[in-house]
């Protein structure tokens, strides 16, 4: 009996064969096992799949139908193929909104990250009542956006509001923060940074908390300056959290409807109309469902692409 025709008990066991088995049908046994496993996986997955289909699949399919038809919220209308997408992509209003969305997102993501990073580093040092400050700094994120936008409106809306009055008292004129297109854009972006920095602060604080302080002590003994410690140790150590927070904040900014709509309604003269505001106004104010949903589709595709690119950056940072 050669070893090739009669495998030892140990090798049979490794191959998953019973000791007394013929060994003639190991493939069969394996495939039977796989089928069982597959069935188990299938039944275990069913609840999640059903939930996903109900929550995401159905609306997505319904939206796809709306985007390719000329109907309204009640009636599907006629199939128009890619006409709605073509109309949207050739519309100057879409590109103006896309441009504003881009700036809004860049300022929203990096502005809130910078402020959040600064405060997270500050709160890491031993300052009196640090925990109280942390809670207070969370307020812009915690307070409902309806309340904070109303507060901001009253701070800047009229020439006699607090902030324009302060400017006037310093001899800086009376800026119309919401009525001037450029100032309105800046105001909305600053508002977004104000609302979002607590989120960034918490993300970065959590990342910083996991960093071993002995790393800094070692670096300090090696003669690294504060700046070198920050750029060579702190930033790389929180890189992964940073990229994840950038992805999430990008999604928050692109999808942000209330911050803009409650403060400016997208005006003046569309200066602060983002893509999501444009989609809303197209569907619910112009009652043009197809083009409005087409805008939402374009936004979604863009977000997925951006997210995948940033995710690759996360993997890269992990490898490094």
């Amino acid at each position: 009996m050669s070893s090739t025709t009669a495998p030892s008990g140990l090798s049979r066991a490794r191959r998953g064969l019973a000791p007394g088995g013929s060994g003639a049908s190991p493939g069969k046994r394996k495939s039977k096992l796989s089928a069982q496993t597959t069935r188990t996986f299938f039944w275990l997955l069913i609840p999640s799949v059903v939930l996903l289909v109900l929550i995401h699949g159905y609306p997505l399919i319904h939206a796809a139908v709306q985007a390719t038809h000329d109907g309204d919220l009640l009636q599907t209308g006629n199939f128009v193929g890619g006409e709605n997408f073509a109309a949207v992509l050739s519309s100057p209003a879409f590109w103006k909104a896309a441009q504003f969305t881009l700036w809004f997102t860049i300022v929203g993501v990096f502005g809130s990250w910078l402020v959040g990073l600064g405060l997270a580093l500050l709160l890491r040092t031993k300052i009196p009542a640090g925990s109280t400050f942390k809670v207070l700094l969370l307020l812009p994120w915690v307070v409902p956006i309806v309340v904070s936008s109303t507060a901001w409106n009253w701070l800047v809306a009229t020439p006699d509001s607090l902030i324009p009055s302060l400017f006037r008292s310093f001899g800086l004129g009376t800026p119309l923060f919401l009525a001037d297109p450029t100032l309105a854009s800046i105001t909305v972006m600053v508002f977004k940074v104000w609302v979002s920095f607590p989120f960034m602060m918490m993300m970065i604080s959590a990342a910083l908390a996991s960093v071993d302080t002995t790393v800094y002590e070692a670096a300090s003994m090696d003669g690294a300056s504060r700046w070198q410690q920050f750029t060579q140790i702190t930033l790389p150590l929180i890189a992964r959290s940073t990229y994840i927070s950038w992805i999430l904040m990008t999604i928050f900014c692109v999808n942000d409807f209330p911050t803009i709509y409650l403060l400016t309604g997208g005006g003046p003269v569309s200066a602060t109309t983002s893509l999501v505001v444009l989609a809303y106004r197209t569907v619910f104010q112009d009652f043009a469902t197809g083009p409005g949903v087409a805008i939402a589709f374009v936004m979604t595709m863009t977000l997925v692409v951006i997210s995948v690119l940033l995710y690759r950056q996360i993997r890269k940072s992990s490898v490094e």
Partner: protein, 441 residues
């Protein structure tokens, strides 16, 4: 050196992509998602579902609920009452109607009945009108308020209140400025210049988030000059000479500083505050402004209508209406309820809960309504010259919903109020092109 904690490596690509796709789908879900208000099915047998909007303070809805729930029909049919918020109301109605959980009778947006009529969801109100004729209420309607609701197929809905746009002024500011009330466009310009010298604005308005008074001011000035968005045949006609002339005049008001440069961003609350704080001297507003802005000292008064350069005298009105839907437990009960409800409307004005004009003459004669000289002036001087958004046409239609509150009119108004539009004709041309792309043929 990989300095990441081990736990974070468990973050898989698929998991991440799934999360990302889910989060990124939010705009799609938001765009096609249903409303939130639908409750139950078609209601219990014989129970009419009546949906109403927050037309005034919560006390209004309490009173309206009491009226609705006091209904008892011939076959022992009843009615229940539900408030629908203005936020996303069209979506709320649409999704409820699509799922057959909508109301049998409702108030709603000014042109909502025509939108749902276009979609085959509205039950015509001709039998209600017949009943109103037989019970005498038909003759009680103020002149002209019913006509805009009559289509080729029948009455689409029945008006119940008039959201009128009239000029208001602050008496003390005119006295301080030493100028008379404007009677025509040149005197409006002169009054505006005089008011500016005392720190007030002579064409108060607002076009910020959710505020349509700026839009209404533009259309009102067109109509006041014998123009309008549509011609007599109901076709889009923004570039007519009267409209161009009206918008040139508004641009003149803007360039003279008679319009508040910040008005373009004013919400209705900001605008009310400007009236209360004595910054607004003269401007277009609704009924019951003193109560709305919180100044009942008698200093805020309704002005006379002003005459356009060609002798025209007009304003705009939004006749809010009650509609019936085909999805009802009993069409007879819906009609019976509507007739009953119209008959009880006087109670809302008797309790001084409304910020709009009634449609019935008898209500305008109630002491609670007629004791306010502003109300009397609006009924006497403004209601007879009021025209709808369909002007110069006569019949309301679904397209007006996309005009009122739509992006085209809003951008046009804002471009005029900011002075970005330096040429009225070009601004109107852009407005016309934008409207053409959204109005259904």
């Amino acid at each position: 050196m990989n300095v990441q904690p081990a736990a974070s490596k468990a973050f898989s690509r698929r998991g991440f992509l799934g999360l990302t796709a889910a989060a990124a789908s939010v705009p799609l879900l938001a765009a096609c998602g249903g409303g939130s208000a639908a409750q139950g099915g078609g209601g219990a047998a014989g129970t009419i579902k009546f949906w109403d909007m927050p037309w005034a303070t919560p006390a209004y809805n309490d009173a309206a609920k009491k009226i609705a729930e006091g209904f008892s029909g011939a076959n022992n049919s009843k009615a229940n009452y539900q408030i629908i918020q203005w936020n996303n109301f069209y979506q709320t109605f649409s999704s409820a109607i699509a799922s057959k959980t909508g109301p049998a009778v409702s108030t709603g947006g000014g042109f909502q009945a025509f939108q749902f009529e276009q979609q085959g969801q509205i039950a015509y109100a001709d039998k209600v009108i017949e009943k109103l004729k037989s019970n005498g209420q038909f003759d009680d309607f103020l002149p002209g308020v019913l006509d805009p609701f009559k289509s080729d197929k029948g009455y689409v809905s029945v008006p119940w209140q008039l959201d009128m746009r009239v000029f208001w002024y602050r008496k003390s500011l005119f006295e301080k400025a030493g100028v008379s009330l404007p009677t025509d466009w040149p005197s409006l310009l002169e009054a505006g210049k005089a008011l500016k010298k005392v720190g007030a604005f002579g064409f108060a308005t607002g076009a910020g988030s959710g505020n349509n008074y700026g839009n209404h001011s533009m259309i009102m000035m067109m109509v006041n000059n014998g123009g309008g968005v549509f011609n007599k045949d109901g076709e889009l006609d923004l570039l007519n000479d009267r409209n161009v002339e009206a918008m040139e005049f508004v641009l003149e008001l803007v360039s003279n500083g008679i319009v508040d440069p910040a008005a373009v961003s004013y919400t209705t609350d900001n605008m009310s505050a400007q009236w209360k704080d004595g910054k607004a001297g003269f401007g277009l507003f609704q009924v019951n402004v003193p109560q709305r802005v919180g100044d009942t000292s008698g200093d805020l008064l309704v002005a006379d209508p002003i005459t356009g350069p060609h002798g025209d005298k007009a304003t705009i009105v939004f006749p809010n209406n009650i509609m019936m839907y085909k999805n009802t437990p009993s069409q007879e009960a819906s009609e019976e309820f509507l007739v009953y409800y119209l008959g009880q409307l006087k109670e809302l004005w008797r309790q001084k809960l409304m910020s709009a004009l009634p449609v019935f003459k008898s209500i305008t004669e109630l002491p609670e309504f007629a004791s306010d000289p502003n109300n009397v002036k609006i009924v006497k001087d403004w209601q007879p010259i009021a025209k709808t958004f369909a002007s110069q046409g006569n019949t309301l239609n679904a397209n007006l919903a996309a005009l009122d509150g739509g992006q085209a009119l809003n951008q046009f108004s804002q471009s005029i109020l900011t002075g970005q539009a330096t040429d009225a004709k070009s601004a109107l041309q852009t407005f016309q092109s934008s409207l053409e792309s959204v109005l259904k043929k």
